[in-house]
Symmetry: C2
Subunit: 179 residues, 2 copies
């Protein structure tokens, strides 16, 4: 069954958003954007901008679900909490339409995309290009991260379906399952 | 000059909100609520609930400004980041109407209300009751915290006005300035 996933890499300055469509054996990028906010604006305006943008993308692309990176523990708490605020605005926008939201740790994302939770960034980026096609995406890290989260959700939800159908996964490696 | 302030103590489970009206020598509570979200709902729905409630309160009470507690450093990062998400939803709601948002640390709030940044909670609660009238408020901590933040903003913005008018503050203690 085909599913359309909105992957989001939240932040206060830049929010990566990518709409990925997937079905068994096929995966394609519909749209992606790195939404930037003006650092000269107060946080409230920037957060409302993120909320509004996410809501608009959801209403235009009507995804089946939203995938977002899980809260992480960071050395720099101020940065982490500002990201958490951006995340709050994005989640509120998803909540407006009662869309199911899946959350993944960075390690889960890397594991699903490159087969190893400790995979370095260039390896993950390369795999995103491989999976979505070389012309599909270029630009900032946030875009690749948003795509990676959406792809991770595609693999993981497929895997969950296969597990429930067959008792156990046919292809334990999610990345392998897309080949 | 009279000003109406919406004080907010954000959280994911409970968000304290209080509308306080103040002018030189007068301070009164218009309305207060502890908005609770259902722990059985997904975070996205809870955050949208918080966003919507804050937006409704702003449109009904048309405050001149919003006062909110500043990001804090906590031992429990997971709790802190969930609060930060609630804060993101509240700020996004304030950003929708371009309302000015003032942020204060818990220490600044205590100092403004009770004259000492290390004042214990019961002392702050007692002062909130003293300042708003004993019948004005009862109930959860979150309500008192929301009132305290609004009162803090009232004193601090008055003090700033007085400082700019007279070169320096007539009453350096914000709590004293309200008597």
């Amino acid at each position: 069954m085909q599913q359309r996933i909105l992957g989001i890499d939240p932040g206060i300055a830049r929010t990566g958003m990518a709409v990925v469509e997937g079905s068994p054996g096929s995966l394609s990028l519909c749209w992606a954007e790195c939404y930037e906010t003006d650092a000269n604006q107060p946080d409230s305006s920037r957060l409302f901008g993120i909320y509004s943008r996410a809501q608009k993308v959801i209403s235009e692309w009507t995804p089946d679900s939203v995938a977002i990176e899980q809260l992480f523990f960071a050395k720099n708490q101020t940065t982490a909490m500002r990201v958490a605020q951006g995340r709050g605005a994005v989640l509120a926008a998803a909540g407006a339409t009662s869309l199911p939201v899946a959350e993944y740790t960075p390690m889960q994302v890397k594991e699903s995309i490159a087969g190893w939770g400790g995979a370095p960034k260039p390896q993950v980026t390369r795999m995103v290009k491989m999976l979505l096609g070389p012309d599909g995406i270029a630009g900032e890290d946030d875009l690749f991260d948003a795509c990676a989260i959406a792809i991770c959700h595609h693999f993981r939800s497929r895997l969950a379906t296969m597990t429930s159908l067959h008792g156990k996964a046919a292809h334990p490696s999610p990345a392998g399952a897309a080949q």
